[in-house]
Symmetry: C2
Subunit: 331 residues, 2 copies
Amino acid sequence: MTVSRVINKHARVAEATRQRVEQAIAELGYVPNALARGLLHGRTRTIALIVSDVSNPFFTQIVRGVEDVAQRNGYTVILGNSDESVEKERRYIHTFLSNRVDGLLIAPASSASRSTLELLARRGRPFVLIDRALEGVNADTVIGDSVGGARTLTQHLIRLGHRRIALVNGPLEVPTARDRQRGYLEALREYGIDPQASLIVTSTYKRDGGYRAAQQLLALPPAQRPTAIVASNNFLGVGTIEALREAALAVPQDMAVVCFDDIELASAIYPFLTVVAQPARAFGTIAAQFLLERLEGSEPSPPRTVVLPPELIVRVSCGAALKPRVDADRR
Amino acid sequence: MTVSRVINKHARVAEATRQRVEQAIAELGYVPNALARGLLHGRTRTIALIVSDVSNPFFTQIVRGVEDVAQRNGYTVILGNSDESVEKERRYIHTFLSNRVDGLLIAPASSASRSTLELLARRGRPFVLIDRALEGVNADTVIGDSVGGARTLTQHLIRLGHRRIALVNGPLEVPTARDRQRGYLEALREYGIDPQASLIVTSTYKRDGGYRAAQQLLALPPAQRPTAIVASNNFLGVGTIEALREAALAVPQDMAVVCFDDIELASAIYPFLTVVAQPARAFGTIAAQFLLERLEGSEPSPPRTVVLPPELIVRVSCGAALKPRVDADRR
DNA sequence: TTGAAAGCGCTAACAT
DNA sequence: ATGTTAGCGCTTTCAA
């Protein structure tokens, strides 16, 4: 049909015909079928984004970044929420492949995602890893400096005088959790502090994980209890504070708490939360740009890895309050 | 091909052949083309969800609810973020129609979305409105009781002794903003309090909107300043508190603040926020169920509207603190 | 139990 | 400047 030419502005259409066609389109409410187009061309101008938890503001910001870049370049975004489950993730990837997305952006649920992603790589669809790097997976990667960020947080506490510092961490199958633990340990070592197994609690990356982990720490004999807690992500930080509040401990007077990832809505009104904030939106925009370059660019290039530096935000104006008090120690 | 029969389990395939086919599928990493299938059948088992702000936890919960129901029923969700822009919304709807989604779930950006949605209705794609009802749009609708919720919040403040109560509201083009204002006015009238134009500030449904609105209220001559503020959504509540903090006013001692929508992460650690919480997840699951019923069900039925009741959560244990102090009044 | 034909809506390539 | 042909991958229908 000539209609196709009109829609795709392929020039060489008489002005009169064009007008008639456009009128007909408007009258009939005609919308071209992207499926047929995709079938023909083998590309759909659609990219998939799979995050491990849509309800986490960190990933939400990533979604916004991705969407922005995609929209600006005429791509549609399909969103999947793996909910930290490798199985759900696998299902989504399959569905999206079946829908012939041009490429994928994935925040992998865990290291166990590797086999799925290797399969993906074998099928030749371009994809970019976000927030969580997987060794041996040959793909562009956009992550934060988890080791450095955790080190910074821990150093901050040490410099304020803390010595018994706990780590409330996510599942060690998640790369960021491993890295943050490493950073924490590095800082301790740097200051000659012996790490204590009882002060490192592993849990889920969820609020109730942090809540339970903190309770476990509070159940320690008084002399072994920490005076400060590093929470490995925003949810864990909030869960930790909840447990402290329930135990009638004040932050930061009775227990200092710092965490990875900012919690915008919370920290705007709760000024006691020193954090290491990641430029979440940039994770999304950069990853999306990488993907689009691969989709539009012609020659294949070796995979790139970008490590975005986090930023320490010290929220308590009275840093002194963080110094462990003797009676707090004794509790 | 016989392959089709194997994939769709259409029986009548020799066991031996089936095995061979399945092996080939595994070896080749074959993934059936959903585009071709969709083209043929006219349905894609895909539904679209358009929210007005992905970074709002309220909508995030809705996303989760929708995704759950969809996934359980073998549907894929495509997400769009209209960012409170009618134009973006229109573009998304067009794209999704072009991609032949089976149906749509839409939290309309504003009343101005009506024309777009009327067009949608004319094309005959089923859709469900979420959170924001539009008069004259003939579709299933799942909303909260904005009038009642705002009334409850305002009554709460009045019963605590407040008389000069301000409303920090969203744009009046958004149905929820209009309804919340109505509820606020109803409560005032009920107690014989004259509404003051200067105490009703309209803004965006964003944090900086709340921030500026609160600043405007604080700039009033002392005698006209409110002693309490009703914020029309979570973001406005946070922005309001930010402005108060900056002005060195304590919540709730110097100024009581209540808001529509809970802020889970924040209220878990900031105990001063009395809110009216909506069952956001249920908005999503119910809306998705409505849509799927229309997609799978045969006979057309008249559109339904569900109004979910919000729940008052009083967070300040010492309600007395909310009573306006004389010196606070004078400030 | 398996195969062949036809068509879903679109557009690249080739007429006219 | 416009029309025709063919084929993208699938499944429904009919035939073998």
